[in-house]
């Protein structure tokens, strides 16, 4: 047994987190910043933070992740990191020539109280930021929120670019949240099918699922351009996908440029996708294309075909709030039973939302925000499940408890393909269903006695 010390009996822990279901803010800020074209994320802290975030993102996306660091020393930690950041800005613009440096803070620079806007002012005064280049900043202390909060905060910082002119641009802003590059691509495709012109920010498609050409581009062709970010102030509206990841930026844009916004769940599964498409159609004043309606029909078709295998199957799920909420809704919609639900990100509203979604079900649901995988494992020991949905760390629980695992979320360190195959939208729904059914039936084929081992299923 790998997790051999995990007892079945659950005891309350107040000081100790074991096997976290979250990580810290700066990595989310780094991922978000990679979705701006020509942007170099910069970690204002010890160089270890930057090394860890780059390593984790690289292991997940299997793509180069460039980011710089202020490389704090003990001296900088005592006297403040201003001189390190000024030096870094100068070096970065000289050597790497990005259009944007997106600075995020760390627990170190937050604890000593470094003021990024003030340092930026100084950099501007000292002429360290070339014409047409930009430095933006986000305050992302590791000791509050989670990687999701850091993502959200950096996306909110992007609103700084937005400008309001006299004329609307006829486009809809879409803030996709922390989803895969493939998901962002799919959301854009769906919007295009609906006939809606969009600005997506951030947009990591084409950045973190790039081709192999023999040429290394530190700044790949993808990403939201600064021009597009400026134009977001003139859009007719904003769709923010995910309360946790995207709402803050949408509301900020509304406040700053009076661009009305609607906060939706991330479009995973049938119903959340329906709501997304419906909102898109309403906000842009168009009708939904036949192609998209056809895709929806295909998803419903697959649900009805596969339903017999899903019915009453118990699921444990751990992940980030926006993803988990949509997935729980999807699971319930196909008559699977999400019985253990965890997110590492703090916030009671997650538990409240899950309670709403699971209200009236004829089984008990365990739910915890600020939970960890140790607790999830204990719950599974007490009430076994047929499927676990989790990031790669779930494989230890899956192996010990002999439960099929669907890798979904962040980080996925031991499988590939998530960068290329979306799980959002109707098409993504097909992939989710195919994966879940494959896992359940592979298990059945492994476990069935020879007498009832069957060819046709």
């Amino acid at each position: 047994m790998l997790l051999r010390h995990t007892p079945k009996e659950v005891t309350e822990r107040k000081g100790l987190v074991i096997n976290p279901a979250k990580t810290c803010q700066p990595i989310g800020a780094m991922y978000a910043a990679l979705g701006i074209h020509g942007c170099l994320p910069h970690s204002h802290g010890s160089q270890g933070c930057c090394a860890y975030h780059r390593s984790t993102l690289t292991r997940h996306y299997k793509e180069p992740i460039s980011a710089a660091t202020s490389s704090f020393t003990e001296g900088a930690s005592v006297f403040g990191g201003q001189s390190n950041l000024l030096q870094a800005i100068n070096n970065i613009f000289s050597v790497y020539e990005p259009t944007v440096i997106a600075v995020h803070t760390t627990c170190l620079s937050e604890t000593i109280g470094d003021d990024i806007p003030q340092i930026r002012k100084k950099a501007i005064m000292e002429g360290k930021i070339p014409e047409g280049s930009y430095v933006i900043g986000a305050s992302t202390p590791s000791y509050s929120g989670s990687h999701v909060t850091g993502f959200s905060t950096m996306v909110k910082s992007m609103v700084e670019f937005s400008e309001k002119s006299e004329k609307k641009n006829g486009r809809v802003n879409i803030i996709p949240g922390w989803v895969e590059p493939s998901d962002m691509e799919e959301i854009k495709r769906m919007a295009a099918l609906t006939g809606v012109e969009t600005i997506m920010f951030p947009d990591t498609s084409g950045v973190l699922n790039g081709p192999m050409t023999g040429e290394y581009k530190m700044f790949p062709d993808g990403g939201t351009t600064v021009e597009e970010l400026k134009s977001t102030g003139d859009s007719i509206g904003t769709l923010a996908l995910g309360e946790w990841c995207s709402a803050a930026a949408a509301r900020e844009l509304d406040k700053k440029c009076k661009v009305p916004c609607k906060v939706l769940d991330m479009p995973f599964g049938l119903q959340a996708t329906d709501r997304f498409v419906d909102a898109l159609r309403t906000i842009a004043g168009v009708s939904v294309s036949d192609e998209l309606a056809f895709e929806r029909g295909q998803l419903v078709d697959l649900i009805t075909d596969m339903h017999q295998y899903f019915y009453k199957k118990k699921v444990a799920i751990a992940g980030d709030p926006d993803q988990v909420i949509s997935m729980v809704e999807f699971l319930i919609s196909i008559d699977m039973c999400p019985v253990h639900i965890i997110t590492g990100t703090p916030g009671k509203k997650f538990e409240k939302r899950i309670a709403e979604l699971t209200e009236g079900l004829d089984y008990e649901v365990n739910v915890k925000a600020k939970g960890d995988l140790f607790l999830l494992h204990q719950w599974i020991k007490n009430e076994p499940v047929d499927l676990l949905i989790c990031n790669s760390y779930g494989k230890y629980i899956a192996r010990d408890e002999d439960v099929p695992l669907m890798r979904w979320g962040f980080p996925i360190l031991d499988r590939q393909g998530h960068q290329y195959f979306p799980t959002v939208g109707y098409k993504g729904g097909l992939r989710l269903l195919e994966t879940i059914l494959g896992l359940l039936l592979d298990r059945k084929d492994r476990d069935d006695p020879e007498t009832s081992f069957e060819l046709v299923q």
């Binding site: 000081g15 860890y52 020393t73 900088a76 390190n84 627990c107 989670s146």
Partner: protein
């Protein structure tokens, strides 16, 4: 022969390459980097000086990590029965959770906390009001849940800044719990200039709090400790296999697959064999001073180095049976290795490699490449000190502001347990026979003239270097992997081995030959250009009539 290959045969001028590497830097950066980029002119007894273990330049994309990574990630991470509890915000514990591929074998019922991540998950109120209470609580909860024999506490950046006294918390809890050794590491990420400071901090505390706790004499005739072997990809298991076959008993490995008790008994061994000089030479020195155990440098990467290291150990014990047995083992193991090398050499001979990793691997792995007939044209370390490049004769090094902040333990001979394993005469006789004690000659001397040796290579220089020198393979870590591969050059991780290993010992050598053969001979690198890109001109013949 392809165009790429022909181009590669053009001899480069190292002076020109060095100039190109630093041309784009602002003047201050260029001056500093110039001192860390050295054109090798090593002579028999003299090596030129390289600047190493100095601060990373802010904004220059470095390969380096932090002190916490060196302490918790590298040294203590591979231990399996110690609860490694990280005091800080969640990230530091999360990122160091199972990501270094340290293998372990706890058996059916042994303790194994490696698959677990423990953290106090400090929140804003802990930063404002102090985190000591929460740390105490976390230690108590860890103890109540797991009853481990030992709990290690690791400080992250904010802990030092807000002044949490983790050492007092540790000693208070040790006393309170009674049967659990609790100690702490002040390994805040901002200390030192790289992971290296963290190794030192880890070594000090292991030596202070664990080594010497168990005097029980373990069975075995030829007892050694293996220092600086972290069992990545199962390297340590292969070395253990070879030791067992030779009749050598390993009392403690620092720290691959290590247990608390192994550390506690380390002082009962009779020889320290040092693998990774940079990360662990401190422990070797302290074990010698306090307990009288001599140390020698070994290297189990590469079949020839493995054989040489085994012979050194046998020579030290000066026992005919052991010497014969070692020779027998080498004779048994080598044919398979030689056959594999002969096979891959048909394809690898004359190919070139670059190695930028660690502070021993960029040196150790050169043996493996040379066994395959490959030439290392540029190499360097991420977090080494000058002695790792130039050899230990440059010691002691002048302390700078960053090194001065890292504690240096004052160690004296143990009143009752200091026992010189060899008399001065015996040591002198062994030295006469060519067995060097406390000696490491560093990387520079093993590299050819006019190769480039680069300390703390960064992202920009790596890309330039690959463009200019076109190696057949580039070795570094995960952060470097995909930018190099995008250039169409195979890349092998030598921190965590991608998904491979073991590469140590005899079986490891065979694995490595096959892996490098796969990487450098594969056809997958030939698909980069589509046919229409290779022949963009449309001619009439191609057009449908």
């Amino acid at each position: 022969m392809s165009a790429v290959r022909e181009e590669k045969l053009v001899q480069w001028d190292p002076v020109d390459i060095k100039a190109k590497l630093i041309a784009k830097y602002p003047p201050k950066v260029a001056r500093k980097r110039a001192k860390q980029i050295m054109i090798n002119e090593a002579l028999e007894n003299e090596t030129p000086e390289i600047t190493a273990n100095v601060r990373t330049i802010p904004g220059i994309i470095t390969m380096r990590g932090c002190t916490y990574a060196g302490c918790k990630g590298v040294i203590m991470g591979p231990t399996r029965d110690i609860v490694n509890l990280v005091h800080g915000p969640i990230g530091c514990s999360f990122y160091a959770w199972l990501t270094r591929r340290n293998q372990t074998d706890p058996g059916e019922n042994g303790d194994n906390y490696i698959p677990y991540a423990f953290s106090t998950d400090m929140q804003e109120q802990d930063i404002i009001f102090g985190g000591e209470k929460k740390l105490e609580l976390a230690i108590q909860e860890a103890y109540d849940t797991f009853h481990p024999k030992s709990i290690a506490i690791f400080a992250t950046c904010p802990v030092g800044l807000i002044g949490d006294d983790i050492h007092t918390v540790a000693s208070t809890m040790k006393e309170k719990l009674g049967d659990c050794n609790v100690y702490a590491f002040s390994c805040e990420g901002y200390k030192g200039v790289s992971q290296s400071a963290g190794h030192h901090i880890a070594n000090n505390q292991v030596f202070r709090h664990i080594v010497g706790e168990n005097d029980e004499v373990k069975p075995g005739e030829f007892k050694i400790n293996l220092l600086g072997e972290y069992n990545i990809g199962g390297d340590g298991f292969e070395i253990d296999r070879i030791f067992a076959k030779c009749g050598i008993t390993c009392i403690s490995t620092f720290s691959g697959n290590a247990t608390y008790d192994q550390f506690a008994s380390a002082h009962t061994a009779d020889l320290n064999a040092v693998m990774c000089h940079r990360s662990i030479n401190y422990v070797a020195d302290m074990l010698e001073t306090k307990y009288g155990i001599p140390w020698i440098k070994v290297n189990f990467i590469g079949a020839e180095s493995t054989a040489k290291s085994l012979r050194k150990i046998a020579r030290y014990f000066d026992n005919t049976d052991l010497i014969d047995r070692v020779e027998k083992v080498i004779a048994e193991e080598m044919p398979e290795v030689e056959a594999a090398a002969a096979d891959v050499r048909k394809r690898t001979d004359g190919k070139t490699a670059m190695l930028f990793v660690g502070a021993s691997r960029a040196h150790h792995y050169q043996g493996l490449f040379s066994e395959m007939g490959m030439k290392v044209i540029s190499a360097g370390y991420e977090f080494a000190h000058r002695d790792d490049y130039e050899g230990r004769q440059v010691l002691p090094l002048k302390l700078d502001a960053d090194s001065r902040n890292i504690e240096e333990l004052e160690v004296v001979a143990d009143e009752t347990r200091f026992r010189p394993r060899k008399s001065p005469e015996e040591l002198a006789a062994l030295e006469e026979q060519g067995l060097d004690f406390e000696k490491y000659d560093g990387l520079i001397r093993d590299m050819d003239e006019n190769t480039l040796i680069i300390d703390d290579l960064n992202q920009y220089e790596a890309e330039k270097l690959v463009e200019l020198m076109k190696p057949d393979i580039f070795c570094a870590g995960i952060k470097e992997k995909f930018s190099i591969m995008k250039l169409g050059v195979p890349m092998k991780q030598l921190h965590s081995y991608d998904s491979g290993g073991p590469y140590a010992g005899f079986k490891g050598a065979v694995n490595f030959y096959h892996e490098i053969d796969r990487l450098t001979s594969s056809k997958v690198w030939s698909y980069l250009k589509a046919p229409w890109q290779e022949n963009p001109e449309l001619t009439a013949a191609y057009v449908w009539e």
